[in-house]
Symmetry: C2
Subunit: 315 residues, 2 copies
């Protein structure tokens, strides 16, 4: 009897996102009936595809399906579909995206929300400038308790973030295209929390303290926030983007920050990544701008959690 | 019948910590049977003391008791007793410290813990230096889930901080001089959480990811953490101080940071405040050093919460 062949090609420029030997050993131990082939290059991966029944990979292209007649399952750690350049998936093949990102990303979202509002980033900037006691620079410090977060993109990750915000006594409004029936509302919703359709966006933004973007890139989300939306927000609002960079009109955002019409923007994702000097957000001294290099899920545990899900799925 | 006289002298160089007219109006509305006198200087306060039954103040001195024969109650927003230069309080007088700090400070503790561990502060430093995509500077980013916090000073504030840490799946060890009976352990304790006496400090520190200091200054807490204690900690440990500056030997801490024998120190309080250029921690580029200017409770709501407690107490 032939062994099921699992091909792993999980390389990234970021070490956190690359498979290591310990992960391969875990797969082999957990799935002794399968042969696990670890590929270190695209060429090795393409050479292994013809016999592969399962592929674990960051990227896939439409034409590769033709190389892989035995392929039945593809798993990717990505939460979004944008790394897969595929237009139609053969019926025989099931694709599974990672679903472990919520707890990882919630730590980064909460971290930025608290660091921005509690004056921590302001204090650190002053420290690095040689200021010994910048207490008067911190008079904009705010509590997050009692404030209102609008989470745009209220799927698995958005709902996990919302649940963590409740521990800090924050009112949550999710914005979501797909309607949610009363029975399917999150268990942790309290009076005042709600899910609203995009049609209500402008009304909801007018009352937002925190606007947390978690939209995918592949579903018509381009410039979901633009000039008009920044105008709707109160001057103390801060925008956070942990989804994809296309969802924000970066030129309008830079203008809003410069004009002080919103208080800040904490961004993990950008229209163009890595960021280039041509970006409207390249100026690191733009008022209220805090940038992360698409790092909200950086952790030694990243691939570990993905392997957990793969083992569960393939067992 | 004479009205009860409440004297308020609540000025600070930090606007958040100063009484405003709205607070005085709230007191008057809530306590119509009393006369509320708002003093704007120490002289006014001392002149009003002879008839005062209640004083709301940041500071008090031993000799002022003699000026105030009618005084029965003093309330201060401070959590610690160190702003009161008093050695013996007359029996007729009850002193009440604010007890509202936990939720305020927990936001700052969590904010620093997350910002440090998730690479947010590192990313921000690189941004300010003009780095467009510092992802390789963030390879030290860690999740806080699954880690271990040692909270030194496990009173009201420490226990509130601990409760918030549990939402992030952090194991909590409280260090506390006064023994806690099993029945008095916090309700939120889970398997693995514990309260330990100071005698266990070195053993507990060896296993700490986060060492959170919340000690008062007035009870023999000088240099509770010194050279020996920093040596006990693992190299990935980060120290946080939100208590009082005397509890850390700053020279030893600076040495430990410079040597990389611990990963960082996020400090809100210092031996000398405001910090001076002579401090061992004055160099803002010390590896892993993050300073706040005694600002962990900065919020517009600070005096508001104090007035809440005063009204409750005096009604």
């Amino acid at each position: 009897m032939d062994k099921k062949i699992i091909v792993v090609f999980q390389q990234s420029r970021v070490p956190f996102f690359s498979v290591r030997e310990s992960h391969i050993l875990r797969l082999r131990a957990a799935l002794p009936a399968a042969e696990v082939i670890w590929c270190h290059s695209r060429d090795e991966f393409l050479a292994a595809l013809p016999n592969a029944e399962v592929a674990l990979t960051w990227r896939f292209q439409q034409e590769w399906f033709d190389l892989a007649p035995e392929l039945r399952k593809i798993a990717t750690p990505a939460a979004g579909r944008d790394f897969f350049a595929v237009t139609s998936v053969p019926e025989r093949i099931e694709i599974k995206n990672g679903t472990f990102h919520g707890p990882l990303m919630a730590e980064s979202v909460l971290g930025l929300l608290l660091a921005f509002n509690r004056g921590i980033l302001t204090a650190y900037r002053h420290q690095l400038q040689g200021d010994l006691w910048p207490d008067h620079a911190l008079l904009g410090a705010r509590l997050i308790s009692g404030t209102h977060a609008v989470i745009i993109g209220f799927g698995k990750i958005g709902q996990h973030v919302g649940r963590m915000l409740k521990h800090f006594n924050i009112r949550v409004t999710g914005i979501r295209r797909t309607a949610v029936s009363a029975a399917d509302l999150p268990m942790w919703f309290e009076s005042g929390d709600s899910v609203q359709p995009p049609a209500c966006l402008h009304r909801v933004l007018a009352d937002a303290d925190h606007v947390i973007m978690l939209l995918p890139s592949d579903t018509g989300t381009d410039h979901f926030l633009g000039e008009r939306e920044f105008e709707c927000m109160p001057a103390h609002a801060v925008v956070y983007n942990f989804g994809r960079g296309n969802s924000i009109d970066e030129t309008s955002l830079a203008k809003a920050l410069r004009a002080g019409s919103i208080r800040g923007a904490c961004l993990d994702v950008f229209q163009q990544e890595p960021l280039t000097a041509e970006s409207p957000l390249a100026d690191g001294n733009l008022p209220g701008l805090v940038r992360m290099p698409h790092a909200s899920a950086f952790t030694e545990m990243y691939i570990e959690r993905f392997i957990d899900e793969c083992i569960e799925w393939l067992r």
